[in-house]
Symmetry: C2
């Protein structure tokens, strides 16, 4: 059997494969993530790649615009390798890299560091030890401890066995000068590393946000608080299910399913860390501590704890506050004795990511009523002030992340993020992220669509497409009535970009769940929408949201735009602050304890609110005075 | 090639071997330790076994008395298997089993438990959890913690990751009844095990004495304090060197030498635990905590920490207080999350074994001056009262354990432990432990020898054999002048049992070092021998010692016999008390800190005392008034 070399650009990753190997398969083997939501059927068009050189065989017909085909584009799922190939993966097909969305607040200058002094959980100390003799024959460890106490006020430090094994040589190689790395244990400090002599390298820490879809890692110099580097990627668990429930089911129904998902999470995090370490010329041992935020299911899977009972009434997690483990215990590729902290959850569906976000974003001392909204795969809400906090989770579904929407995609290059519909012709104008031909619609584009379609009379307030209206843009497609946003001849995939009635239903359910959640929480504390002083919007999706349109469709409460603030990936901010301040790490624990979880499935209140909220904007228009 | 079955009695262990296999080799393969100090040359006679049935071939001539040969005895190192064999290993040839010497004080009734209440470091609690529903959706871990606090006053218990992984199933299998095992961490408690429903099994703990020569393990029911079982064996490190210095050298000079010695120690401990567990129908997980005592070198090796700098001036250990590790970290075959505590040392050559002994034996509150002596491979001394304690180590060498003495052996069956020499004929009468023909002389026998030889005028006070004396019992042997104690025709090995001038020199150095150590400590605190109220003698050797004769040769100070007390293996007692009482474990740490270490190699005082003490009994006879 002939063997051919396939080289993928722009990463220049090569792999040797047998003649006839499917190109998408070859990319997977090479560890390159190419999106293929349709599962390799040649229908979604999302695995398009450009053949730069070499011969191939078209295994099957596929759908792609003539223009793209002419430029050398093919669908990788339908191509067999017949020669040495050089293949370029265009940005919209790549799954590997995600932009890390950090708010500008993220620096040691920001208000959280005004609240919390730099007091990092990992440090390096250069120690000059007294030289021993027969009259001063104190053992190595106590000699280190004594200097650590005298010079740096760290008393009763423990030592890891691994470090104790290295200590005698390090001390003598450095002629009784040694640099030790100490980390905060639950109670007290632990010495985890000893280097001969003095080193100018700081103690690095990693803050990690383990999202269901995206995982982000940030490397911090814990001495100065400086962000050294950051990297994001898709969660490798995604191939086993796109949301938490499907992953729980995968873990239950497959032999070693839990282990497979844990490995995928660990591999994802390790992949990010490797990239960052390599780029900065650092070794794994350089990272001395890690703080992770993630939803409750993600943390269960990350630690290899069964999440089974999270999806069965009464929806119990094994824990909401997890043991701090050593990196080596779960094979995280940093210093083996580095502590890996996970930020505690509030409940099954309000995770440590929310604790971290709220801690980083909502001013703890404010007596005003604030609302925090994270719209991701789930919608998590937190309402309250310095005195009390209520939180809940509404199963909004991943519609705003583009999932379950026929032309949906995440907010990345090629996505339509803005739409305007001409009320006469009903033709849409649109904007594509970073220009070029559109590949699909992302969350903010979907919000515009709803709002514009209602405005133009294409849909009614219940989300029904008014097919009686005569227009080339309204038609009956394979799945029923649909609005044609972009003709296939204009799209980057060669396929029509449409919004179906089914898509609209999914969007209304998603926005209705969020709004109903907000209303239910307010009723619980007997307050009104107008009592809310600030609304903080988190999550990657929030960045592209237009508040006016989100209010117009009834997703967000009808409040003046200046009350809204977009806060970016605040989970990674919380995790970072936790690395840099012991008090913040403790503060997050206290915060998680302080939040009262509201289980929406208890009682009828939420369901009543939900039914009223799946209209545009709502059945009760008095809640949206600005729209009247 | 024919295969034969060899069955070893009394253990009834069988092994299949090829025709022609050496019998000593077969025993080794079967995991049976047979002593063979000469390395299988057929000269030491210590591997004698009795053939009960079956044919064999004598590979080579060997030295054994006609009588023994007639009884079916052969030297296993010179026998080849030619048939199915049944072989009895007499007790004096066995290396595997050692009698565990525990003082009668060792029970929960004794004075240490009057001082320290039962407050074990590992416990099992049966918990009846409240049943969850949507209104009470507390997570599993907090549900357990809440009940643990409410019913047993254990608050803020951590959980190991391993146990958290098992918790959800255990809780549900037991229908919200669960038995948890909690252990004391440095700060607070940790839950390490969760069993479904309720169990009546107690939490077991293991107390282990890691001696240079002998390792002893005791299994305790930590609920009642009852000794369930115990087992002793030789330290498998012994094949790499008989004393701590030779083992340090082995660790340094061999590739993976440290690892080899660590593995040997771990294997030894695991072997004991396996025997005990099997005998009691228990699984490794049943043991939830371990407390170890050992000298500083042994603990370094046990934990895999280099002891190199312990033998180089200024003789620094890596640590004297060691990190508590999880059993799985060092592959100890008990519950993987069980904490393994090591009792802290005082200095390089005063180890945690001494801390444990002194803690268990010397009444902490006594204002009287007490002296503690442990004569093993080293001689460790502790002098003091409730107000202060001084300790030192004198390099006595292992002479009293029979090592370095031509006919020396440990105090076991076949050893001469008592001698009387007829002043006229110069012929010795002797007693053999458990009767039968003598194989060698143990420590107490050696003390009698010195004393009796001096009395009979065979040696002078400097230990020189007076060869001018005409007697068949005094002669010039291969290594110079020697006293013939037992003729080969009367001995169990068929070889002469002699005491050479070289042996006497070794014994005088050993006893001189101990006595000089005592004198040096007394001088440091400006006190006299007569100020000592009680003398506690520890170590296996101490059991057989005759105080009068030990005083007569100048090994022990000239004090009335009633001031002496033999205290057995008090290290294992200290370790046991540590398992059963948290306060005792802390108390031993405090004790180790409280002992002032006297480095005998600083200054000339010890050397001056030593030179005076290598006479029988001493150059200054006024120190031995009872002998005048």
């Amino acid at each position: 059997m002939a063997i051919y070399q396939v080289t993928f650009l722009p990463d220049k990753i090569s792999i040797a494969v047998e003649k006839g190997t499917n190109l998408l398969e070859a990319a997977r083997e090479a560890g390159i993530g190419i999106g293929s939501p349709c599962g390799g059927n040649g229908t979604c068009g999302k695995c398009a790649v450009k053949i730069i050189s070499g011969a191939y065989e078209i295994q099957d017909a596929f759908h792609l615009s003539a223009e793209l085909k002419a430029s050398g584009y093919v669908l990788s799922c339908k191509i067999n390798v017949e020669d040495n190939l050089t293949v370029e993966i265009p940005v919209q097909s790549r799954m590997t890299k995600h932009k890390v969305v950090l708010s500008e607040k993220h620096s040691s200058e920001n208000e959280y560091f005004a609240r919390y002094k730099m007091n990092p959980i990992c440090r390096k100390y250069k120690l000059v030890l007294s030289k021993p003799d027969l009259a001063d024959n104190m053992n190595d460890l106590d000699r280190v401890r004594k200097t650590l106490k005298k010079d740096h006020g760290i008393s009763d430090a423990r030592i890891s066995l691994r470090c104790l094994r290295a200590l005698p040589e390090a001390v003598r190689q450095g002629n009784f000068e040694v640099t030790v790395t100490v980390v905060k244990e639950k109670e007290g400090w632990e010495i985890i590393d000893a280097e001969a002599g003095s080193t100018d390298k700081p103690a690095y820490g990693a803050a990690v946000d383990i999202g269901t879809t995206t995982v982000v890692a940030v490397l911090l110099d814990t001495e100065t608080g400086r962000i050294v580097d950051q990297e994001g990627t898709y969660n490798r668990q995604a191939t086993y299910g796109s949301d938490v429930i499907s992953r729980i089911i995968f873990a239950e129904e497959n032999t070693d399913g839990l282990k497979t998902l844990q490995d995928a999470a660990i591999d994802t995090v390790n992949g990010l860390l490797e990239t960052i370490l390599e780029r900065n010329g650092l070794k794994p041992d350089a990272i001395s501590a890690m703080v992770c935020g993630g939803n409750t299911v993600m943390i269960h899977l990350f630690l290899g704890v069964t999440p089974s009972y999270l999806r069965r009434e009464p929806y119990l997690p094994a824990a909401i506050s997890f043991p701090t483990v050593k990196a080596s215990e779960i094979k995280i590729g940093i210093h083996p004795d580095a502590p890996v902290y996970t930020i505690p959850s509030v409940a099954s569906y309000v995770g440590g990511d929310i604790t971290a976000c709220v801690f980083a974003i909502m001013p703890g001392e404010s007596e005003e009523l604030n609302l925090f909204i994270d719209i991701g795969t789930n919608g998590e809400l937190v309402l309250g002030s310095s005195e009390w906090l209520v939180t809940c989770s509404c199963s909004a579904g991943p519609a705003f992340e583009g999932s379950g929407i026929s032309s949906g995609m995440r907010a990345m290059d090629g996505a339509i993020d803005w739409i305007e519909i001409d009320p006469e012709s009903l033709e849409a104008s649109y904007r594509v992220i970073h220009g070029g031909k559109p590949l699909g619609i992302c969350g903010s584009g979907l919000i515009y669509s709803l709002s514009e379609m209602l405005e133009a009379g294409i849909i009614d307030r219940a989300g029904k497409i008014l097919t009686k209206k005569e227009s080339k843009w309204i038609r009956i497609g394979r799945e029923g009535p649909e609005y044609l946003l972009v003709d296939g001849s204009e799209s980057g995939t060669g396929r029509d970009i449409v919004i179906t009635e089914g898509d609209i239903k999914n969007l209304l359910r998603a926005k209705g769940a969020i709004f109903a959640g907000i209303r239910t929480m307010l009723q619980q504390v007997q307050m009104e929408i107008n009592d809310i002083r600030n609304v903080y919007i988190a999550g990657g999706f929030g960045k592209y949201i237009n508040i006016t349109d989100a209010v117009r469709i009834g997703l967000l409460p009808d409040l003046p735009e200046e009350k809204y603030e977009y806060v970016g990936n605040s989970c990674i901010q919380g995790a970072s602050i936790g690395l840099l301040s012991l008090e913040a790490l403790t503060g997050m624990e206290e915060l998680a304890n302080r939040m009262t979880y509201l289980e929406l499935s208890v009682g009828n209140q939420f369901m009543d609110e939900f039914i009223s909220a799946i209209f545009i904007p709502h059945t009760d228009l008095s809640l949206f005075p600005s729209l009247q």
